[in-house]
């Protein structure tokens, strides 16, 4: 199996461990990734709300580039995944396709009729491969809260491989890895990602509710697949602790990191040392 790999802006900066762990886990499972050549930002949740055409062209540009490579597109970041999948759906609509094609052709990029599929790393790991035979170091005793957020599974007509309301794919993967999964009711409650900067107080409030529930359930860490959620939950966790005068120190790990650990890959090779909130309690618990 081979995919055109689209890392996106975050995986080369604040979410480097997601990039590193995706690549090594996929390699371990025999899946080949070829980085999408000359990829650009997907526009996130912001661009189409400034100009629909700019947002759709940004999202579709990467899809068109993957078409050129004749490969399905694989993204780890939930946002990049969602926007690329949305672009594929938009290209099925004649009017949208015309508008998108006109813009991209000015950039010298042609849109072909060959419709590729856009996949997220969670979808591939949960639905295409059986990782259970490869587990070398079961995560015994580790309690995890799987957080899906929004863009990984919503809306269903763009994503479609897991429930938009109460998804289970990461729960399933974590269990295969030997972890105990808590019943996280807030698993699809939004952390406020796209409005973090202009509406910081609101977003801190939303994110705090997630941290509170995970802690009250006794989770050792939150497991996720979105760098934007991780920005709120991890990078801004110290700010939230300060604002509300609480202490969480709750490790936030990408799903590929915990799968990597269960596959027996060394933490350093997964990029686990790159976290801002220390994942040491998790490693200690596992005796790694």
């Amino acid at each position: 199996m081979k995919y055109s790999y689209y890392p996106g802006c975050s995986l080369h900066t604040t979410a480097k461990e997601f990039d590193i762990s995706t690549q090594i886990v996929m390699q371990e499972l025999g899946i080949e990734l070829q980085e999408l050549e000359d990829w650009s930002c997907c526009g996130g949740s912001v661009a189409a709300g400034v100009s629909h055409d700019v947002g759709m062209a940004l999202a579709a540009r990467n899809v068109a580039l993957a078409q050129k490579q004749n490969l399905d597109l694989l993204a780890s970041c939930s946002g990049c995944y969602n926007k690329s999948a949305r672009a594929v759906k938009a290209l099925e609509n004649e009017t949208e396709k015309e508008r998108i094609t006109a813009i991209l052709s000015e950039m010298g990029i042609s849109v072909s009729d060959y419709n590729i599929r856009v996949r997220n790393v969670v979808d591939v790991l949960a639905n295409d491969i059986d990782i259970s035979a490869k587990i070398k170091r079961p995560l015994k005793g580790l309690k995890v809260a799987c957080y899906y957020g929004c863009l990984l599974t919503k809306p269903a007509d763009i994503t479609g491989w897991d429930s938009p309301v109460f998804p289970m794919s990461m729960d399933k993967l974590s269990k295969i890895c030997g972890a105990e999964v808590v019943d996280f009711r807030s698993k699809t409650k939004c952390c406020g990602g796209p409005i973090l900067v202009p509406k910081q107080d609101v977003v801190f409030d939303l994110t705090k509710q997630l941290l509170d529930e995970a802690v009250s359930l006794g989770a050792d860490c939150i497991v996720l697949a979105c760098p934007l959620c991780a920005t709120n939950l991890e990078l801004r966790q110290p700010d939230i602790e300060k604002k509300y005068n609480v202490s969480y120190k709750l490790p936030i790990l990408y799903i590929t990191e915990i799968i990597g650990l269960a596959l027996g890959i060394k933490p350093g090779k997964l990029g686990i040392n790159k976290h801002i909130v220390s994942p040491k309690p998790v490693l200690d618990k596992l005796g790694i």
């Binding site: 802006c9 080369h12 900066t13 604040t14 979410a15 480097k16 000359d38 990829w39 650009s40 930002c41 526009g43 996130g44 949740s45 912001v46 661009a47 189409a48 709300g49 400034v50 100009s51 629909h52 055409d53 700019v54 947002g55 759709m56 062209a57 940004l58 813009i103 000015e106 950039m107 010298g108 929004c150 863009l151 919503k154 809306p155 269903a156 938009p164 309301v165 699809t188 409650k189 939004c190 406020g192 990602g193 796209p194 409005i195 900067v197 202009p198 509406k199 609101v202 939303l206 990078l235 040392n273 790159k274 976290h275 801002i276």
Partner: protein, 193 residues
Amino acid sequence: MAAKKCFFGMKVDRQVDGDKMNPNFLKKVISEGGDGAAIAACMQCGTCSGGCTNIDRMDLSPRKLILMVQRGDWETVLKSESLWLCTSCYTCTSRCPRGVRPSDVIEAVKAIAIREGIQNDSTRFNQIFVELVQKRGILFEPELMQKYGGMEAMLEQAKLGIQLALKGKMSPFPAKVKDPKKFNEVLEKASQK
């Protein structure tokens, strides 16, 4: 609009009002990606509002916002703070039994609001974000913080910035696409349309 009597305790505005749609406004919403037929299909059930991330903080619930779009009540819609409290979480769109896609309608209205000259922190942030994405094709976050929040934001984020740099997660050199000039020109033109 004349006030309507409360009928059997039902909220006064809770009714399907599709016949009063304003075609001009609707046209704009559609050209920014809203689905006109779907908007007309809204039956005002309130499912979208029930699951909305920020419903507690909004002045117009997604249900009401769709009703105002149906009625063509420009002012109310464009001035609503709800546009900037919406997190594009897609919960409304996932749950709507009539396929209305309130999140996409809000996205369309946001773009219209910016064109109509609505200005606040959110519009400023969103515009700077797009400007910088267009500039290089790949977002360079420190520049976004600096342009949006100035020196104050840079100082506030300095500690996190240093931590990220030490972990090799922030380079002082922005990444870019192969031909950023062309990239920017084409998208700039597309945004003017």
